[in-house]
């Protein structure tokens, strides 16, 4: 089959030659695809803004030897413009696509695709604070990849309870018996927020204060960096509450 068609979200782009770009796409049915978009940097390109980062498009691709070639693209969701208009959303979206790129290095799944476009849509509409959307996305994307954190029961022995010690290396909260000496402890409200972000309970998450969100973001960042092994380049640039521009 020389050509195929799929829905895709653009993760990142690299310049190629005079006017081309290599676009990294996360597709619904074909996993992660790297493809060449010819002439896309020319102002009169037929692709226009459809193959910019954070765009969702219905694409037709031609199978190449090492890279595929984009032959047609129709826009399904143009989130890029709204995301770029807000610096906090832009930096959060960068961290999201970088995470998606890393998590789908071996193979992508339609669930990862749907989770990412849901998060980008939410960011573009400004439904919640950008850093909350990012943290919720990170926790859920890692869960889909098989690294679900535990915030309700001890991640080592499974004992239920209101634990406050959190060890990212062990996979979430741990009870007093399992907690290694010097294990960091956070307030119960931070654990509740993390749990709400993982479940997608936005009523709880939106009601939290800036200090709780900042502590929860710290835990999410540490958890993400631990499982992705190499640090995310874009995470230090994420504009958190009150520091956007």
């Amino acid at each position: 089959m020389p050509t195929y068609r799929d829905e895709a979200v653009v993760l990142r782009t690299h310049k190629l030659g005079e006017a081309d770009r290599i676009v990294t796409l996360l597709t619904r049915g074909h996993g992660k695809v790297r493809a060449v978009a010819k002439g896309v940097r020319r102002t009169a390109s037929k692709f226009g803004a459809r193959l910019e980062p954070f765009m969702v498009a219905d694409v037709q691709l031609y199978e190449g030897r090492s890279l595929d070639i984009v032959t047609q693209a129709e826009s399904l969701g143009s989130y890029g413009a709204d995301i770029a208009a807000d610096y906090a959303s832009y930096t959060s979206a960068n961290a999201m696509v970088e995470t998606a790129d890393r998590l789908t290095e071996a193979e992508g799944s339609s669930q990862q695709y749907l989770l990412l476009i849901g998060a980008l849509r939410s960011l573009s509409r400004g439904e919640h604070e950008a850093s909350l959307t990012l943290d919720s996305y990170l926790l859920r994307a890692l869960s889909l990849a098989g690294w679900a954190p535990s915030f309700d029961t001890c991640s080592r022995c499974g004992t239920a309870g209101e634990h406050t010690a959190i060890v990212v290396q062990l996979g979430g909260v741990v009870c007093s018996d399992c907690a290694p000496p010097g294990a960091p402890r956070v307030g119960r409200e931070v654990i509740d927020l993390l749990s709400a972000l993982l479940r997608g309970d936005w009523t709880v998450a939106d009601a939290t204060d800036a200090s709780t969100r900042s502590k929860a973001s710290g835990v999410v960042a540490a958890y993400t960096q631990w499982h992705l092994e190499r640090g995310l380049r874009s995470l230090p640039y994420v504009a958190r509450t009150g520091e956007s521009a």
Partner: protein, 198 residues
Amino acid sequence: MYEGVVQDLIDELGRLPGVGPKSAQRIAFYILQTETYDPSHLADVLTTVRDKVRFCEICGNVTEQTTCSICRDPRRDQTLICVVEEAKDVVAIERTREFRGLYHVLGGAISPIQGVGPDQLRIRQLMTRLADATVSEIIIATNPNVEGEATAAYLSRLLQAMEVRVTRLASGLPVGGDLEYADEVTLGRAFEGRRLVG
């Protein structure tokens, strides 16, 4: 594989952007075989370019002196600054002959995924240029892509506090293009920025 210096030449040419192994070989043999071509001028230019060319202390454009010819020109409108990503963009805008103000080259666009944040760009230098209140308008001419738009949004928020007019280059339909091929974002912008005829 060729012997010695021929292979060295092919390898060096092949390190340049956009030059593959086949093109490198073709250029190398052109230099070797064409008697009318004198490569000494190219050799001179290559050795002096890195020593002579530097970045303008004011705007960041390429120049052979401490400041570029545009910043030195007293006939240019000192109240206008056009902010661009690269020195190449200055040349593109100069070709239009529409703009008579000054420039500021940022040196790229904000792209966290590539490790480029606001601190890696020449944003602080731009703020310093605005300190003496001669400038009345900043025209943001970053590329109309996601990175460029995000950089424009960041700059406009930063400049809000200052008493300066901030404008963004218009975007819309390209001259010579077909309406049916225009994407939704571009066409939407064209509608947003439509203007009265006559």
